[in-house]
């Protein structure tokens, strides 16, 4: 009798807990607990894996260092032959004359302690210094780039407005993004993938653009294009511009960007505001370059190149270009969220439309119900009265899996539904093992009570052994799997644990209730 007392209580507790967790899914808002999470493959949405080009971030740092070095060498009046970025991540400085070399070394020691001397070589009286960054500094830059990229993307997605996005690091330089229920996937991809580096660069109006188009680009300048699409004729025009490489001002000084409508042409544009320092720089550039053309460049594309009419002091500017309202809205978002520290590439994309997700749920539920009914009927036919006990266990099993999914806030995916359906087939196994044992014991002439006891005690260990191995496979799967497959591992694990409980505790309680309390003399098996 002692063994009986804890079992019904635990059964009731488990049922109650499962019901509490499952109810909000069936009737939303019953109590504050959350619904069962549906995976992207069931509710529709987009799964992206981005790779941050962290090598580019290192290159950019080196390029910036080279520029700084050039400026400070000029300031210190050290005469150098050339400063170039070589082998992607190195700066080669060619210097002539002992006095210059000594000054250069002094400058390095005093102001550029972080730079590593990768090698020197002499050719005549010209000495070439190769400089680069120490390995741990390079690692740090890469790590920082990956982190900043994630933060920037999170900002952009938050401003775009997606319900419960999931954004996280995956390995060193990958970012996993899950956007459930998103409809305009193309727009989201553009928003996420855009580097959004805004630069203001002067046009090189003296340069020969037709020579540049043939490949003869003057040093210190670059060839960039402005693409215009005429919405009425569907034709695009590409205008080349020769601009100076050096960016006079970048988007780093922005405090705000918003969409406004031009009252004259009724076209949307993005107005941007600089912070104090940015405003000062902007006023200075515009003041010094009146009547010259200033190109507004975003990710190496020229948006416009207006002529500066007068010094602009207000600390604000506007970006035009024939935008649609959505384009302008998204551009404002990426400008507000800031530029990515390095370009990103989409290396994995999985998109599921909402109608497909709904179809999957419907099909999953239909096969679950049908498969379940078949198994339930089969058990009744094969084991009669005891089959009903197994069926009760089976139904409770599904309830526990659902409760577990809600309780642990795990995600239900399409393979996950398959996992539940599979569990329906496999869960009866534990009961089958027990029933077969009971039949064996009864054929040896034992009383029902003794046969049930023997059946359970003999079958329990077997059931445990058999299920632990399935659990091992499921846990490995959980560790390895991504998204949908992980969902399968979750439901399979929950199913195994639930079937252990229902077979060893629940169905035994029912048997004992009939045999001990109701003093039933024979069992239908």
């Amino acid at each position: 009798m002692k063994t009986l007392s804890w079992k019904p209580i635990s059964v009731l507790v488990v049922i109650a807990a499962a019901v509490i967790f499952v109810l909000p899914t069936i009737r939303p808002g019953m109590w504050p607990h959350k619904k069962i999470n549906l995976g992207l493959d069931l509710q529709g949405g987009m799964h992206l894996v981005l790779e941050v080009d962290t090598d580019k971030a290192v290159e950019d740092t080196i390029e910036r260092l080279a520029q700084e070095l050039r400026a400070s060498l000029r300031k210190e009046r050290v005469r150098v032959h050339s400063i170039d970025r070589v082998e992607k991540n190195r700066i080669a400085v060619r210097i002539q004359g002992e006095e210059n070399i000594a000054k250069f070394n002094k400058l390095l020691d005093e102001e550029y302690k972080d730079i590593r001397l990768a090698g020197t070589n002499e050719a005549g009286d010209i000495q070439t210094f190769k400089l680069d960054l120490p390995d741990d500094e390079v690692e740090h830059i890469k790590k920082l780039a990956a982190e900043q990229a994630l933060e920037t993307i999170r900002n952009r997605i938050d401003q775009f407005g997606v319900n419960e996005p999931d954004i996280r690091h995956q390995g060193e330089k990958r970012i996993l993004i899950q956007l459930p229920g998103i409809k305009d996937t193309k727009r989201a991809k553009e928003l996420i993938g855009k580097t959004a580096l805004l630069e203001f660069k002067l046009l090189d109006e003296a340069g020969d653009i037709s020579a540049a188009l043939k490949g003869d680009i003057p040093p210190g300048t670059q060839l960039l294009y402005e693409t215009k699409e005429d919405l009425s004729t569907n034709r695009t025009t590409k205008t080349p511009y020769l601009v100076k490489k050096q960016a006079l001002l970048t988007g780093a000084y922005l405090t705000d960007a918003k969409v406004q409508i031009d009252s004259q042409y009724n076209e949307p544009y993005v107005s941007i505001e600089f912070d104090k320092k940015g405003g000062r720089i902007f006023a200075q550039i515009t003041g010094e370059n009146v009547k010259k053309r200033l190109a507004i460049v975003l990710d190496d594309k020229v948006y416009s190149a207006p002529v500066i009419q007068e010094k602009i002091t207000g600390g604000s500017a506007r970006i035009t270009g024939n935008f649609t309202a959505d384009d302008a809205h998204d551009l404002a978002i990426v400008l507000r969220a800031g530029a990515l520290p390095a370009p990103v590439n989409i290396i994995e994309e999985r998109t599921v439309g909402p109608s497909l997700g709904a179809d999957s749920i419907r099909k999953g539920l239909i096969s679950m119900c049908l498969g379940g009914i078949f198994v339930v009927l089969f058990m009744i036919v094969y084991y009669k009265g005891s089959g009903i006990i197994a069926d009760i266990a089976l139904i409770l099993n599904i309830l526990i899996i659902a409760g577990g999914l809600a309780g642990f806030q795990a995600t239900l995916t399409l393979p996950g539904i398959a996992g539940i359906i599979l569990t329906i087939g496999m869960a009866v196994d534990a009961n089958v093992l027990i029933f077969e044992r009971i039949r064996e014991e009864m054929s040896l002439g034992k009383t029902p009570r003794a046969a049930v006891d023997a059946g359970y005690s003999r079958a329990s260990l077997t059931i445990l052994d058999a299920n632990v191995t399935t659990l091992i496979a499921a846990l490995v799967l959980f560790q390895f799997g991504t998204g949908p497959v992980k969902g399968f591992a979750v439901t399979l694990s929950l199913g195994v644990i639930a079937s252990l409980f229902t077979a060893l505790v629940l169905s035994r309680t029912i048997f004992e209730y009939f045999l001990v309390y109701r003093k039933v003399k024979s069992i239908s098996i």
């Binding site: 009669k384 399409l414 398959a418 632990v468 390895f480 399979l492």
Partner: protein, 344 residues
């Protein structure tokens, strides 16, 4: 109702030579099919590339779809029907693995609409870059290997109380695999080598039950892979999930027979091993068939009604359950006899 009458005694062990030939033949066919097809047919998850699932209002001819996509540079390699016929869904497989840009997606929809005269709706896009594909491939193989390894530790521990021995062995194997992956040894060969080393170790350390179980598992997975290859079906992530579940399921069956063997060895220790094996298989036969049957019932409903994505998964599981049931009777137990013959 009872399928298997108590006291039944089919001589399974006596027919182990026939079973051995059957198994060997199936494994050879698997290898032949894999060689013929140039290895398993990998889906985009593992090979990289793009899959686009399109739905039309009424059936269209695949012959119309393919040329329509020629003009769009996505490198279309195949177009096939997907799911039930009445759904009018098609899978377009492309080798290109660059994210579909706005224009691309629109172009595809327009090109399809023009070629078939029907509205085409893109329902699903899966794009996997080559690097991600390779990562997933390696992860999948490692997962299968580790699942096997952990399971054998458990079996050796539970059935022969050799926790330490099997634990140390598994630890050494894991370390070796880990070290070799650092040296970038090609993962598939590494796994095959590791499995062979494991089998040889089991043999000499006389981890009988673990050996029986793992041989049965490798047998099941190999044959399932072989049948997949014969039907020229694709290996995707859900299929790996199915293979791991087959490992779990087949082992479930095997352990239940082993458990009975262990019990009978204690009860009738005077009887020869082959008789005990046979009795144990017969005693558990009812359960083996019944559980396989209920599992097959639900798998068949999934296969028929579950929709395109689940279809192949259910197919793999159905094969796995059938082969797994066969192997727990005809493969796992006879292996226990191997050491008996060696002693003589």
């Amino acid at each position: 109702m009872q399928f298997i009458k108590p006291g039944i005694n089919i001589n399974f062990i006596g027919r182990r030579k026939i079973a051995f030939i059957v198994s060997l033949a199936m494994i050879l066919i698997t290898i032949a099919s894999l060689i013929f097809h140039g290895g398993p047919r990998l889906g985009v998850d593992f090979a990289g590339g793009t899959v686009i699932q399109v739905k039309f209002d009424s059936p269209v001819a695949i012959a119309d779809v393919k040329p329509a996509l020629k003009s769009i540079e996505i490198g279309t390699s195949s177009v096939q029907e997907f799911g039930a016929a009445k759904e009018n869904e098609y899978l377009i497989r492309a080798d290109s693995s660059t994210a579909l840009t706005e224009d691309m997606q629109q172009n595809i929809e327009q090109a399809l609409q023009k070629a078939t005269g029907q509205k085409a709706q893109i329902r699903r896009v899966d794009m996997v870059g080559p690097q991600v594909g390779q990562d997933l491939r390696e992860k999948a193989l490692l997962a299968m290997f580790f699942a096997l390894l952990f399971i054998t530790i458990y079996i050796s521990g539970r059935f022969e109380l050799k926790w330490m021995l099997s634990g140390v062995m598994a630890g050494a194997l894991m370390l070796a695999v880990y070290v070799l992956t650092i040296f970038e040894v090609s993962i598939p060969y590494l796994m095959i080598a590791a499995v062979f080393v494991t089998l040889i170790l089991f043999w000499f350390l006389e981890l009988k039950y673990a050996m029986g179980a793992i041989v049965a598992l490798i047998h099941d997975v190999t044959i399932t892979v072989g049948i997949f290859s014969i039907f020229d079906k694709e290996f995707t992530l859900p299929i790996i999930a199915a293979l791991l579940t087959i490992i779990g399921y087949s082992l479930n069956d095997t352990i239940i027979v082993f458990d009975r063997i262990r019990e009978n060895l204690r009860k009738h220790h005077k009887q020869p091993l082959d008789v005990i094996l046979n009795t144990s298989i017969n005693e558990t036969l009812g359960r083996t068939i019944l559980t396989s049957l209920t599992t097959l019932i639900v798998l068949i409903t999934l296969f028929v009604l579950g929709g395109g994505i689940i279809h192949d998964f259910a197919f793999a599981m159905i094969i796995g359950v059938l082969v797994g049931t066969y192997s727990s009777i005809f493969v796992a137990s006879p292996i226990l006899l191997a050491w008996q013959n060696r002693g003589k």
